[in-house]
Symmetry: C2
Subunit: 359 residues, 2 copies
């Protein structure tokens, strides 16, 4: 029988070899080199205990030799799991979101997950588009910020059967699981603190409540707490602004130009508080002598303002870590998503004191 092999198994594709430094190896080549089937390679890689030590070693050797790079996309395709978590936050620039993001990322990373990041810029519309894209990439879970979302987003998550978790806002009424502190309660404690110092005329600077339900909670607490103490809620002392120090400064400025300025101001976030504080000092006002200021978040920098800022410490890191942990537990062990309420703490530093003149 003459040696006629009309169809050689695998013609070495010269062109391709020339292009890339090395042709990317697939599991198939690894299998061939190790003298096993692809199934065994897959097992050696994913569930090492399922293959004999000797075989495993042979496979690993082949992996090294071929410079094999696992294809997670192909794996996700069939296993229906991407080991990926979507995270949507309103902004990274505010370092308080950076803190929780860092923790989520850290926890996910440690568990072998990578996070897909989206920034919604406080727009539910943009958020929905973003989420759509994350869903298309088949994230195993989605971590959102706040409770203000486009209806279509919620539907899409349900359709895709993707679990989601809310951070930065406690979802009591709805059946959405959330990992957060209580914005209302925390803000209340801040206002209560000012009132307990003897302040009777209070001002508020907060985020835009139309796009930020955390700001809304905090404003609500401010108003309710004043009412509870029989104090006036003067609209001229309430400012909704963007998260910029400059905005805090200008809000404070407006307040001070008011016929009857407040003796204390609650800034519902530290960014604005820093601006407000700066504005007071710019005008030569003594803080807390002439006016008290309390912030919210406890950014690291608040220990370094002069005077040091009284504020409400928010468990940003814990929140991120817990959220990621709960999400991953849900993904891996089908543990239903559980809500968690975290606690805040009022950090009394140097920008608060009783008002100079008691009525």
């Amino acid at each position: 029988m003459p040696p006629t092999r009309s169809k050689p198994e695998k013609p070495p594709d010269q062109s391709k070899v020339a292009d890339a430094a090395r042709v990317k190896a697939t599991i198939r080549e690894v299998a061939h080199r190790a003298g096993v089937s692809t199934a065994t390679v897959s097992r050696a890689l994913n569930r090492p205990e399922k293959v004999r030590a000797e075989t495993r070693e042979r496979v690993l050797q082949a992996v090294r030799e071929t410079h094999f790079v696992f294809d997670g996309i192909a794996a996700s395709m069939i296993s229906r799991r991407s080991r990926t978590i979507g995270l949507i936050i309103p902004t990274i620039t505010n370092s308080i979101y950076a803190a929780s993001t860092q923790s989520i990322q850290h926890t996910a990373q440690a568990a072998g997950y990578t996070v897909l990041l989206g920034v919604s810029e406080f727009s539910p519309r943009l958020e929905a588009d973003l989420a759509q894209r994350l869903l298309e990439r088949r994230v195993d879970g989605l971590i959102l910020t706040g409770g203000n979302h486009d209806q279509s987003l919620i539907e899409k998550m349900r359709t895709n059967g993707v679990p989601f978790l809310i951070t930065w806002k406690l979802m009591r009424g709805k059946d959405w699981p959330s990992v957060s502190f209580d914005n209302y309660k925390a803000a209340w404690s801040a206002v209560e603190f000012l009132v307990s110092l003897g302040h009777r005329r209070l001002g508020l600077v907060c985020g835009r409540t139309d796009v930020n339900d955390r700001a809304l909670d905090r404003r609500q607490a401010f108003e309710d707490c004043l009412e509870r103490h029989g104090l006036a809620v003067d609209p001229v002392l309430i400012y909704e602004r963007d998260f910029e120090m400059e905005e805090g400064a200008s809000a404070m400025s407006a307040m001070l130009d008011t016929p009857e300025p407040p003796t204390a101001v609650f800034c519902a976030n530290d960014i604005q508080a820093i601006g407000a504080l700066s504005q007071c000092r710019e005008r030569g006002l003594s803080v807390p002598g002439d006016i008290s200021i309390i912030g919210f978040d406890d950014l690291p920098v608040t220990s370094y303002t002069r005077p040091k800022l009284t504020t409400v410490r928010v468990p940003a890191h814990d929140m991120g870590r817990r959220a990621a942990e709960i999400m991953i537990a849900s993904i891996e062990r089908q543990i239903p998503l559980q809500s968690v309420e975290l606690q805040t703490e009022l950090i009394a530093r140097e920008t608060t004191a009783p008002p100079r003149f008691r009525r």
Copy 2:
């Protein structure tokens, strides 16, 4: 012939239908409903101009009716493109990295890309692991921070043929493309500024140069600039610390406890500068009367310290945007990655002045 159909085509899987609100539709069902082939659906979705308007409309209608969610994983599988960019930064908590990250994210988002985020915590080892995971997820490109990387990482990127870009550090010597300002030059300008004010004894606080080549550049510039002016480089006035305000404060404290304290200090990042500034004021020293301080980065908060911090403005946003743009252009139009040098600017504010006593 009796009607015996032993194998009905698609037995409705009751259990699944019960589980999920709706069974997820595939392109196949959309195609069937629209009365076209899957190829046409794919085209209608990806290259609308390639299908007749009428057909397109029919497909889109079917998409809506079936609540079809595109499977980007399956698409990536075959198209070899993931529309995904990997980004690895040392930390998010330092808001200067948050700024460039935000811009990268924003630009990518606008171009239809999703960013996969990794945080290396200044460890090349961890970074390599992280990158491996991103590569496994088949990112179309990788944006890294600085030039200090594990050899295995570089190899892997080459093996996978994934383009990468360095930010925050100009890669002159190596052939790696980078989008950055020149750390050395920028730091030099800061030190030069202090010297030009008349300072002769200078201190330095910077990041850990063993894990951070940006800090190394800046330190090098500090030392070289002093030497150039014939000034002493006193090791007792050089502090390498982590990026914490507290670290800046303690470094400054140590410097002030020195027999011959400096009249000016260059803090190679604003975080440490804020701590240093705070420490001076804590001790009742006048800044810039007794001591000058210059920072680096121009974080927003530096306009709100008292006195306002003199610093070097760094084009974090531009850098992020340009990096993302260049990466995407490279991915989509095979434009080779080009390096870009951005400029910095010295922002003279209130923490710098000539030394009180000239020699």
